[in-house]
């Protein structure tokens, strides 16, 4: 076994375990904590795939920004007393069914269909395509239209957030 496989097993086991723990905790703060751990492990997996830039972005954007805002909301709303969702076993059952269905679907795709079997890329080219230079070039040339669209999306979101934040109720 080489180092890569050991690291892969390590990261993926932690990621899977933390995901399961995240959805089973009653306390939302603990859930959020494990979600952060999950994101960190995902970043590790991205690193193993030679996608360094995406790995770091994963940490900065998801763990560093989005989850902090989540924590803010959770802490200020204090929903730990509100356990109604926990008691609804019907919802739990449906969620589990949906999860299993999706999981089966993914297993089916990966093991029986092996979509990328025909696409072999060398390690070197995958390292190159993961660098920030390559990603920057792709974003600003080939994908510049989606990039601009994403810019408008964020602008609209910012304006919308301001509108909602300024709203006062009678």
């Amino acid at each position: 076994m080489n180092l890569e496989i050991i690291l892969f097993i390590l990261f993926s086991v932690i990621a899977a375990a933390s995901a399961v723990i995240m959805i089973t905790r009653a306390n939302p703060i603990i859930s959020a904590l494990f979600l952060v751990l999950n994101f960190a492990c995902l970043a590790g997996l991205y690193l193993l795939l030679n996608a360094q830039f995406i790995a770091v972005t994963q940490i900065i954007v998801y763990a560093g920004a989005i989850m902090v805002l989540f924590l803010f909301v959770i802490m200020l709303l204090r929903p730990e007393h509100d356990l109604t969702l926990q008691k609804k076993s019907k919802i739990k059952f449906m969620a589990a069914a949906a999860g299993i269905f999706v999981f089966a679907q993914l297993v089916y795709i990966i093991f029986f269909f092996s979509p990328n079997a025909s696409q072999k890329t060398s390690v070197q080219s995958s390292i190159n395509s993961g660098t920030i230079e390559q990603i920057g070039t792709a974003i600003f040339t080939k994908y510049v239209i989606p990039f601009e669209a994403a810019g408008y999306l964020l602008l609209a979101a910012a304006i919308g957030a301001l509108v909602l934040a300024k709203k006062k109720f009678e």
């Binding site: 904590l33 770091v56 940490i59 763990a63 560093g64 920004a65």
Partner: protein, 343 residues
């Protein structure tokens, strides 16, 4: 070099950096007290050892022997986890900061950095953004309103200033054309440091660094008159000391980052023209780095004892309405430099 040699060398480097960092931190506390005494016309610690030189060790001993109190309302695991995160972030960030050029030792070519990664600066930004968790969790898990307020204030502050910090760094990256700390240092050899080329970015980064480290004048998370002790009100003993350590370690890292990004790293102007022996050049360069770092650290403390604390709304206004637009302006300026002025 095979993989095992690399691992061993890296481990040795980590050990050295870690020890140095710990020592420096404890003496920083001593210097802080001495400088505050100087600023306020007092004497400062002078009992333990020569002029109080052993004071840091006495402090550490005291903190270790104190009782570790965990409040009843606290969430125990998270309460313990918070200082660990703080220390982890503080010490791992140093891994990518180079303190000198490559040296040759025992036939090995050794870089004076623990990890030379090509996304080094992003790594630093990622870790500092994780640092928010330490404070937020500390505030929440204590189960006390003062702690919670301190924690939330601090995260809001850090998120706000992270933006202007990121944009200031973008200016540096644009000029260097790389995210590797080495390349950034090499891009400002001679006297054309980034602080000279992009003074606005330098100032915004400097101010944001103050806010990110929660130092005065931006130490609202622990503002004593309003919040008792802020997010670490409910901490005692070694856990409290961990936050303390982390704060000073963060200061060192901010200082080292400022030196690397804006003050030319280890570069000493016109050093090559003196015609010195290679080993002497390297030694001077390392000393240059340390001197620059020391000056920045002194500046941090100087500011702390000279400038009063901001009010919270002033802090937010400064962050969003002054620093953020200024850092954008700086980015535009750097883009102009890259397009039209730089050969």
């Amino acid at each position: 070099m095979n993989i095992w040699e690399i691992i061993v060398i890296t481990l040795i480097k980590i050990l050295i950096v870690f020890t140095l960092l710990l020592l420096t931190v404890s003496y920083l506390v001593y210097f802080e007290r001495k400088i505050s005494a100087w600023a306020q016309n007092r004497i400062g610690p002078n009992r333990t050892g020569w002029k109080g030189a052993l004071q840091p060790f006495a402090d550490v001993g005291k903190l270790l022997l104190k009782e570790d109190i965990v409040p009843v309302n606290a969430s125990k695991v998270v309460h313990t986890l918070a200082p660990v995160i703080a220390l982890f972030v503080a010490f791992t960030t140093f891994a990518v900061i180079p303190i000198g050029p490559d040296i040759k030792l025992f036939g090995y070519n050794i870089q004076l950095v623990a990890a030379d990664v090509n996304i080094g600066i992003l790594y630093v930004l990622a870790l500092t953004s994780l640092g928010v968790y330490a404070i937020t969790f500390a505030g929440w898990s204590s189960g006390s309103k003062y702690s919670l307020l301190g924690g939330i204030r601090s995260s809001a502050q850090m998120i706000s200033y992270e933006i202007s910090m990121g944009f200031s760094v973008a200016g540096v990256l644009l000029l260097a054309g790389s995210l590797r700390p080495y390349d950034i240092v090499y891009s400002q050899s001679g006297w054309l440091w980034n602080a000279v080329i992009q003074p606005i970015g330098f100032i915004t980064f400097f101010v944001s660094a103050f806010a990110e480290t929660n130092r005065l004048p931006f130490d609202l998370p622990e503002a004593e008159p309003e919040l008792v002790g802020g997010y670490h009100t409910e901490y005692s003993s070694m856990k409290f000391a961990s936050f303390f350590l982390a704060e000073y370690a963060n200061m060192i890292i901010s200082g080292a980052l400022i030196v690397t990004l804006y003050l030319g790293g280890w570069h000493f102007p016109w050093l090559e023209s003196f015609g010195l022996a290679p080993w002497l050049v390297v030694a001077i360069q390392i000393l240059t780095f340390i001197f620059k770092l020391a000056f920045i650290l002194f500046f941090f403390m100087w500011v702390r004892w000279s400038i009063p604390r901001f009010r919270y709304d002033q802090l937010m206004n400064l962050g969003w309405k002054v620093m953020f637009p200024l850092s954008l302006l700086n980015l535009v300026w750097v883009a102009i430099v890259v397009m039209y002025i730089k050969p």
